[in-house]
Symmetry: C2
Subunit: 208 residues, 2 copies
């Protein structure tokens, strides 16, 4: 479980030639770090007289961020879990027609799983960005720069995970399914990147 690893061990595992954790797991971790910074902003807002009017809203955002953080951390492990059977499938024999048909079937199934995990990371990252947009408006002015950093982490979850979607859908034989997944990934990018740029732009303006 990633949650119990030290920072040092995680950096070593990420640096190593072992395929997981790799770019997919790192993208989910970026998402988790983005939620953590959002929670920090929330924690610096609730309980302050100045922000009493938005306390209920901010508390609700924090609950959602906590849930999203749990999902993102679980997706680091999930990304590693779906990789092993895919790597094994690449190594299956394909000498006879039966072997080839079996290998194709196993490959297809595992490519699907391996593309759905980063797609999930992307869709959650867009949710995180939606919350951060509201937090930029309602959160403590003292922590506005932390909203900006949170946005950059959520953006990395999105732009990192999308490549791991495409790598896997690229090899899928079921092109209709592959295109359906690619379109969901593109929709997340099309929504998320301008949203991230908009929030970050607002934060930058406020720091001037």
């Amino acid at each position: 479980m990633t949650r119990q690893q030290t920072i040092e061990t995680f950096l070593e595992a990420l640096s190593s030639r072992q395929p997981v954790p790799g770019g997919g797991g790192a993208s989910a971790f970026a998402g988790a770090l983005g939620t953590a910074l959002g929670l920090m902003v929330g924690n610096l807002t609730v309980g302050k007289k100045k922000y009493a009017a938005v306390e209920a809203d901010v508390s609700h955002m924090m609950e959602r961020l906590e849930g999203l953080q749990r999902e993102m951390v679980a997706l680091i492990d999930e990304d590693a879990r779906v990789f092993a059977p895919l790597a094994a499938a690449y190594g299956l024999p394909a000498g006879t027609q039966e072997e080839r048909a079996h290998k194709d079937r196993v490959m297809e199934e595992n490519l699907l799983h391996a593309s759905l995990v980063p797609l999930k990371i992307m869709e959650l990252a867009v949710e995180v960005l939606g919350i951060l947009e509201e937090l930029e408006e309602k959160g403590s002015v003292m922590a506005v720069s932390d909203v900006g950093v949170a946005v950059q982490f959520a953006r990395t979850a999105l732009t990192g995970a999308v490549m791991n979607v495409y790598i896997n859908t690229k090899s899928m034989k079921d092109r209709q399914k592959a295109e359906e997944i690619n379109q969901r990934a593109e929709a997340a990018v099309t929504e998320g990147i301008p949203l991230a740029e908009r929030i970050y732009g607002r934060v930058t303006e406020r720091l001037k």
Copy 2:
């Protein structure tokens, strides 16, 4: 020491109302994660016959990434270390003229330290991006998407840290020094963002 914390503890500390670790430390951590993914690409390249011609170059890039990772991890702690005296300075009395003069001097000194740490993170992030550009050309084709994710982390180190530079230089009395630091920060952004976009664009093209 951040290095020895578990992922769970680090996420909790980042989420809490404690000011450190905050956006500055998280930006340095993003830089460290970017170097780790770069090292993974290097580790998947060296020792392979196919990449024998670039092995010396890639090994040299890896040495540089290891050094940059150590610096980035140290900067997470350094960012926390410079915050405490700054927070204390804000609380100094300013009733008499002598007290005010003393407070101004202490504030100025600590604002300078607190802006130089994120500036350092930014300048190192641009170095990481420079190495990733070469790694995109020479590294294993199997790990090209990991170069793309690494780029996004280095970009977050840059775009996250810049806000922590501006927050601190904004309150500095020595405007010449403040402008000098702001200009170095702007130079890092002006160099780093297009570089990040260029490498990421190339990776995306190669995944199509």
